[in-house]
Symmetry: C2
Subunit: 90 residues, 2 copies
Amino acid sequence: MGKAKGTPPRRVEVRVELKPGVMDAEALSTEKALGLLGVKDLDGVHIARVYELTFTGIDAEAAMDRARECVERLLANPVIHQVSLRALEH
Amino acid sequence: MGKAKGTPPRRVEVRVELKPGVMDAEALSTEKALGLLGVKDLDGVHIARVYELTFTGIDAEAAMDRARECVERLLANPVIHQVSLRALEH
């Protein structure tokens, strides 16, 4: 694991969303706006942000570790966000 | 199709992202910030926004039509965004 020259780029998808119970003002206003714009039968909007991170020169396991670093350092706030990570095919 | 009383809620995931070639200032600044924070081997950040829409009282096909309506009316700008939709399991 770790450094691996000549390896293909590794992509990791990080999905960040608010934890259940945390009010999502953006989702609520989106839902309201869609109703006002005439969309029928809508009964809920949930929003997530997806980061697709590309790493080079490292193997898949190391890329996943790096992605976790990104989450901890910048991409999510553990108090309010839940995060899921998955490796993407090249 | 159309109205279907007693059907389960239908969920559609709408993924909105900038088209290739459209500059994504947020992704660029995220990538730069992660580098400054010490994350190694990162070679690209791509950001997408995911809307999970829940519809009630309609079947899966109608829910997909409604989701397309949401995209056209509010969620995406066809000039700069590409959109993908998929039905989610209940």
